[in-house]
Symmetry: C2
């Protein structure tokens, strides 16, 4: 079913207010969940909201904690997120990176002790909307074996690269597994198979069955050994820049909280937009090729016109959360 964006936003905001969020934070966090569903990233929109609420109730997310600056050299900053809401901390982190980039050209902000930021791409769009190139990445609880192993030891550690453009920003938002667990859950909800193999079943065979992979936690890294290496290096970069918790430590804690995230913004007088457009045209050619961010934009327009698509069961469940 489709519901108006404002209805979804208001409902989520009301629940967050009832959990003790300040007006500003409730509004911002509800907006991010709403926008994620609006843009078609259902796994990190409404569908994830009940889990977010659970983390708050369990005290793993502190509604009104304020991130604290630990160190700065004027370009590189390290912050402690104080276990505040991930979307709030990430917005603050990317904002700082953007501010620094407008002054110095580059801002590089790492936040430790923060929480799941929901859709990674949110903060890429944020940077691009502010006219800066945005790059960000996070670590996560282990959900993927390293190449050569069978035990989940790697997070799927999403990576975002966003470049601003008048006709629509380019925003790449990719997890290191072929499918994020959120995406696999969507296929499971719809009782569909994955379009390509996404991991291993209990017999150790590659499979397109999302339930089997969610069970074994043996998601397939993109490009096999390559995504395995990239997931590990992003975790290492996060730790090296901040001393924050690694996937190893997050996993040992038993819950996905207290993660580490980096926000990079680059600001330039211009971005050679004519050349970027030439590259897009060349890459598309006459084939049905989409640039990263293109389909997000068309889903967004549809949601704004016709309302946002929600899973009826989840929507009903969420409506009971503020009691």
């Amino acid at each position: 079913m489709r519901i108006p964006l404002s209805t979804l936003h208001q409902q989520l905001k009301t629940i967050l207010l009832s959990l003790g969020f300040t007006e500003h934070r409730a509004d911002l966090c509800a907006q991010i969940f709403t926008n994620n569903s609006r843009d078609g990233v259902y796994s990190h929109g409404l569908n994830r909201f009940p889990t977010f609420v659970e983390h708050i109730k369990k005290g793993r997310t502190v509604p009104n904690a304020e991130p604290q600056l630990i160190s700065s050299n004027g370009i590189i900053e390290t912050w402690d997120g104080q276990l505040g809401p991930g979307m709030y901390n990430a917005t603050v982190g990317m904002n700082r990176a953007i501010e620094i980039s407008k002054d110095k050209g580059i801002g590089w902000v790492t936040i430790k002790n923060t929480n799941h930021w929901m859709r990674a791409g949110t903060y890429g769009w944020q940077a691009a909307d502010a006219g800066s190139i945005g790059i960000c990445f996070t670590n996560a609880i282990a959900g993927m074996p390293a190449w050569g192993g069978t035990t989940p030891v790697l997070g799927n550690n999403p990576l975002v690269i966003a470049v601003p453009r008048k006709e629509g920003h380019l925003v790449l938002d990719m997890a290191m597994s072929q499918f994020s667990y959120g995406k696999m859950q969507e296929y499971e909800f719809r009782k569909e198979q994955l379009p390509v193999a996404g991991g291993y079943d209990e017999q150790g065979n590659l499979t397109t069955d999302p339930s089997a992979i969610r069970k074994t936690k043996r998601a397939l890294p993109i490009g096999n050994w390559k995504g395995s290496g990239l997931a590990m290096m992003l975790d290492i970069l996060l730790v090296a820049m901040s001393g924050g918790r690694s996937t190893a430590e997050i996993t040992a804690s038993g819950f996905e909280y207290g993660v580490t995230q980096t926000f990079i913004a680059i600001h330039q007088p211009h971005y050679h937009e004519a050349l970027i457009n030439e590259t897009i045209n060349y890459t598309k050619g006459s084939d049905p090729v989409f640039y990263p961010g293109e389909r997000t934009l068309s889903t967004r327009l549809l949601s704004e016109a016709d309302g946002v698509l929600v899973d009826e069961t989840v929507w009903q469940r969420v409506q009971t959360l503020n009691s």
Copy 2:
């Protein structure tokens, strides 16, 4: 067969001197080719040398061109490589990034009009040897269709992330295709199939036959649509930061030259090495898992002890090049 490192280096240097390289450049470029073979990256060591010589003879690589600074804000620099040898320009570019990082924390250098740098990882090792984190990427001639298309429009645009460490640097060096064409050529030389599907054959089926993929130029991006998006975004970043040639323009020129490359270095007082080691130990666990760079180091030690492995046919061919 195995030959001493010094023999390989001397042979390559002699040829470069005969092509008009200055003593310093001949020495540096020969050393990089030698080190690439030494480290087991045969596709971009000796095996690639004849192609490098051909580019010089055709005037697409200018032996003694010196890169020129175009713009600088103190942290972000843009250079014009003047079509000099890629390995020389890349060494200069990463050196600049390292110098800036030691002063400002981060250096971000983009070079346009440069040439193939051979092994991407070389410049990651360079940064890590200098005590900085190194990140670099390049664009390339189109050799891979974008997701949804069948015409090659994407370069395989290698990405490197290197983090220094006392017990051995972590260096990830990955192209955006499941296998680089250089790597596929190695399998072809050895008349072996690829270990996993690496692209499409003429009938449009996924195949492990390196010759079939080298023919169709339909290499498979890592993670299907994900590597396709990442390859495109790296090209866009390079263009946005420098106005240099994109994969579109390189491909239109008919030859892989005049490419664009970015070198990023980050310098920190320390990199939380104990936590990095903890992450490595956790990721390895009891499984046969290697951290990025681990096997490079063991191949290097073997080459230094027993000599570097060379393909006899290529070695004989190279020995005739300085006549």
